[in-house]
Symmetry: C2
Subunit: 403 residues, 2 copies
């Protein structure tokens, strides 16, 4: 397979856009990615478009990519519409990578776009239900002990993440899977601090430790500042062969690993998806976790970020909390995580999130991250999970990039 | 890129399955494809799953592949959920082909599955609306002159196909785009005749010329027997590298071309998608239309099949009607088209259709087509379109296979 680079990366600011539709958001991201690359749109040979719930929110299904790209000048090229719940955009990127690495195309677009916010908030939350096996939705709600009222007020995934962190007992208000409320609060403080330096983040206000702990209670130990928000947005990347980049004088990080796996479902004897994906990614890149200089990870809820440290082998099992307490994963630390603000502060328009992560890592490796720039970074990783089935997330993508 | 073969192909009978869900249909197709190949399921390294409207019919979005494959033993491998309206399954196959041709995997599954039939028929028809740009749905309905009642009684696509055949004037009841009702009726007679020999076809009764003309009127010149029916079903193919096939002693047709394009949208200066896709496919395969021995094409309405003959260059422009009248495209003719029964008789569960076509061509090239076997066939083509945007279908896939 051929070597592949990302030569253009852009995103809208994530946020709640009452007056903008999917097309408008997509157009901004695509236009800016093309500008960022300094490329002619005519060079783009195919487009891979991730979106998760437009069908349920807006009624637009089946040709979402063609619809959002309709006025860009891209129609005519192959357009593939991709879904993998919160990992939709990473999956789109992965397909773009394969297509270029295969030799079929020299230059393709990966796009993620989502509009979650709706005047009827319960509609947005209902859309998340489509990311589990709906045949067992009632059973899942019952097992999690959620009332009908609660189902209207928060995403099922807040409860699911807690149950995954601590599968064998109900979440206490103090600690889940060995992670204390205080440690969770630190993750939120860090990610909001990072987000405060990111013009593309949904939330750009720092929050204090006390504010996180005292913010509205959601479920178990989680307060609202420990949960990723509803939001809208788009993110895009231009993926090209190394040979094409060289020929056109384009610069950008190399894709050293692009790995997608699905969850273990009901088979508890299989390793969870994140560990399998990470192992494959390190192997593909020919490096280890010790070589990673920064990472964007799937902090859908604050405690998840801490277990992800362990699952990605950034530390020994059980040592995750130390990384946040010792400020290893803060900007200025040895391995900054979620410099974009992560899902908590940059935001989580689910079908766009994976490319939001990739955009951040690409910008960091290009030295374009402004106030939140990680010094001397050479290798970055993204980890993006989506959906839930059985005892695991349903989809998991890990990518590694190097400058 | 590596050479690729299809070593397993299977489908459920297409039809209306009140008591079967998506998972049940998918499991039958996957199980039988694995059996057909004589392969161990453990060899499958990734799955590409096409579905178009489950989100709107059943509420299951975003992780449809993981859900339908949950109990097959496949969970753990990468699963990509793909949409491209009626071309979803061809798109899934195309992605599987790229992944194997690239060298990333040796053996992958492509699956298409759809459940369209619903006690509330209007719900099924509404789902088709999601295959146009819904921002202009009202405008499209108005332009086509459809009443609210008509919108509940038939798919928007029946009207859209007529408008594409004859863009500049309203469809008469006698002729559309130079094709007479009688010629359309012949297509229906042929495809139902073919379907009568296919155990996997939704409709297995022959129909007479008079029956077609006298069946319930739908719109313009179309009677109900000239329109593809609502239906459910699943179809699957196992795609492997030639080297893997050789090593494992597996047999199956080679993929000589796998082409996906999107429509021209609002740009009438661009050629329509079908011509562009066909040209690319012939080039990729290094052959011409004269080399094709059989084809499965997208006869969503009977007259479309005749224009497709011309668009695929099976004849000179304007000569399409001759092929049906002179029985060239009937079983026993020089170039049998839709030996499966086509969308009209085999059925059209939209997200499964593309693989239904591929299964038929694979079986034909393997000599497994029973009573409807095309003698001495060596090269087969499939053509599958999906969705509608501007002046064209939204997605178009053309594949060429050889034994």
């Amino acid at each position: 397979m051929r070597k592949v680079r990302v030569v253009g990366a852009a995103m809208t600011r994530f946020g709640k856009y009452v007056d903008r539709d999917l097309r408008d958001l997509a157009e901004e991201a695509v236009h800016n990615a093309i500008q960022d690359a300094g490329l002619d749109l005519k060079e783009v040979e195919a487009a891979y478009v991730g979106n998760s719930v437009a069908g349920l929110i807006t009624g637009q299904e089946t040709i979402r990519g063609q619809v959002v790209l309709r006025k860009t000048g891209l129609l005519g090229v192959p357009i593939v519409n991709v879904e993998n719940a919160c990992a939709s955009a990473s999956t789109a990127f992965h397909l773009g990578w394969i297509a270029v690495a295969s030799g079929l195309y020299d230059c393709v677009l990966a796009l993620g776009v989502e509009k979650l916010s709706d005047p009827d908030k319960a509609k947005s939350f209902r859309a998340f239900n489509s990311a589990v096996d709906i045949a067992e939705l009632t059973e899942i709600e019952k097992k999690l002990g959620r009332s009908d009222e609660e189902a209207k007020e928060r995403s099922l995934f807040m409860d699911l993440y807690l149950s995954m962190l601590n599968p064998d007992e109900p979440a206490s208000r103090e600690v889940v899977g060995g992670i204390t409320r205080e440690q969770m609060a630190l993750v939120s403080v860090k990610n909001h601090y990072h987000g405060s330096m990111n013009p593309f983040a949904q939330y750009r206000e720092e929050v204090t430790f006390e504010e996180v702990l005292k913010s509205r209670h959601v479920v178990g130990p989680l307060t609202v500042l420990m949960c990723s928000p509803l939001g809208d947005g788009a993110a895009a990347a231009l993926i090209v062969s190394e040979e094409f980049a060289h020929r056109k004088g384009l610069k950008g990080p190399r894709v050293d690993a692009s790995v997608l796996v699905s969850g273990r479902g009901d088979d508890r004897s299989m390793a969870p998806s994140i560990g399998r994906a990470a192992t494959q990614a390190y192997e593909m890149a020919g490096i280890g976790p010790e070589d990673i200089n920064l990472a964007e990870v799937h902090d859908a809820v604050a405690p998840a970020e801490i277990t992800i440290y362990e699952d990605l082998r950034f530390c020994a099992p059980g040592d995750g909390p130390k990384l946040i307490e010792d400020r290893v994963t803060w900007l200025g630390g040895k391995l900054p995580v979620n410099t974009s603000g992560g899902l908590l502060a940059r935001g989580h328009p689910i079908g766009a999130t994976g490319l939001g992560q990739i955009v951040e890592v690409v910008w960091q490796l290009q030295g374009k991250a402004g106030k939140r720039q990680v010094e001397n970074c050479k290798v970055g990783l993204t980890q993006n999970g989506g959906g839930h089935i059985g005892f695991d997330l349903a989809a998991m993508a890990v990518h590694i990039f190097s400058s």
